[in-house]
């Protein structure tokens, strides 16, 4: 049976989302372990978090490329050629795995726009899972989640998550953001180039 591009696209979208979700979570864990933001660590330890991040990325890629072995799609064994318009629906063989995912977007592969839709969703989910796990780790392993040095008093934003949970960091950062916004905005306007559209609009509004 020749695959319907709409079915192929739905399948690719779903599989790409699994891949992107695991990979963004992994990349986030590597990044926050480098930054030292304990409020987002999945595991109670810097190196543990970093290696788990690497594992998540590898796992996501392995899952994406090996799913054709178990899930029916446009990669039926024997039909996987470079030309993606002649594929048949079915499960792939081990020998087909390298080429199974090379499907043109006109034949149902995921376009750049499709990927640009799934990626932010994956990033959002990765951030939510990380702050949730970070808060849980702080409760379960308070000793391992406390930094060697305390955060400076003027710290804000993600830096507060070096020693705080996301909820505490959000409350403090948002309060400070609202307090400083008018002065920050004026300061940034003064520093902007004279040919900035924002400066131009601001000067017209002030008249």
């Amino acid at each position: 049976m020749t695959p319907d591009p709409a079915d192929v696209q739905a399948l690719f979208g779903r599989h790409y989302f699994y891949f992107a979700a695991l990979a963004t979570l992994g990349a986030l864990q590597i990044a926050v372990s480098i930054g030292g933001y304990r409020g987002m660590w999945l595991l109670p330890g810097r190196l543990l978090t970093r290696y788990f991040g690497v594992l998540l990325i590898i796992g996501g890629a392995a899952l994406f490329f090996m799913l054709p072995l178990w899930i029916d799609g446009p990669w039926a064994a024997g039909s996987v050629e470079a030309d993606s318009s002649t594929r048949l629906w079915g499960k792939a063989d081990w020998g087909d795995l390298g080429a199974a995912r090379n499907v043109n977007d006109v034949d149902g592969g995921l376009s750049g726009t499709g990927q640009a839709t799934w990626f932010p969703l994956s990033a959002l989910i990765a951030a939510i899972v990380s702050v949730g796990a970070g808060a849980l780790n702080r409760r379960l392993f308070p000793a391992r989640m406390t930094p060697e040095q305390s955060v400076s008093a003027d710290a804000d934003g993600i830096e507060l998550m070096t020693s705080e949970s996301y909820a505490t960091a959000l409350a403090r950062s948002w309060k400070r953001f609202r307090r400083d916004l008018p002065s920050d905005a004026m300061d940034l306007l003064r520093k902007a180039d004279r040919w900035s559209i924002s400066v131009w609009v601001w000067e017209r509004l002030r008249r």
Partner: protein, 194 residues
Amino acid sequence: MNPIDREIVLWLNGLSGNVALIDDLARIIATDYVMPLVFSLAMFGMWFSASGAAARAKAHYWVLVGITSIGMSNVGVVLINVAWKRDRPYVALDEIELLFYRATDPSFPANPVAIGFAAGSAAWMVNRKFGYWVFGAALVYGLSRVYAGVFYPSDILGGAAVGILITWGSTYIHRIFQPLTNLFIRLTRGLALG
């Protein structure tokens, strides 16, 4: 056709078909899904890995420039494609053993390489070593597609130039709209995500 381009693509593509494992590896690297995700993850990771107020502000600014330049690189490639439609190597050369699907868009410049070099340029501005890794990934991505028979080497060079130039141009786009970029960064800081 440039004879150097012809020779290199025929030589590199001629290596295919000998070791199945290398062909499969090239197909996986050349796919539309791995490297674009790697470039996106590079930007995503850069956002969250910087520590210290000044380093964070710099990283966040360049991540936003990088995201803009990735989007603008696509526009740049489409505009060049309007002016010049270069046939893919597998169309122009009978000797090519195609390892990838038959792309319908023109060959020059290599869009995926432009995206990779746009991300790499932004990464390079924050951390030279990390930037070189991203440039390296973009180059390997491009070479895997030459090996697969869908790009000429000059498409890779063109894509790299487009990516770097558009990143430089994107800094002006952000300056045109300043202080909106920095206000957005302050907002993410207020949401404890920046």
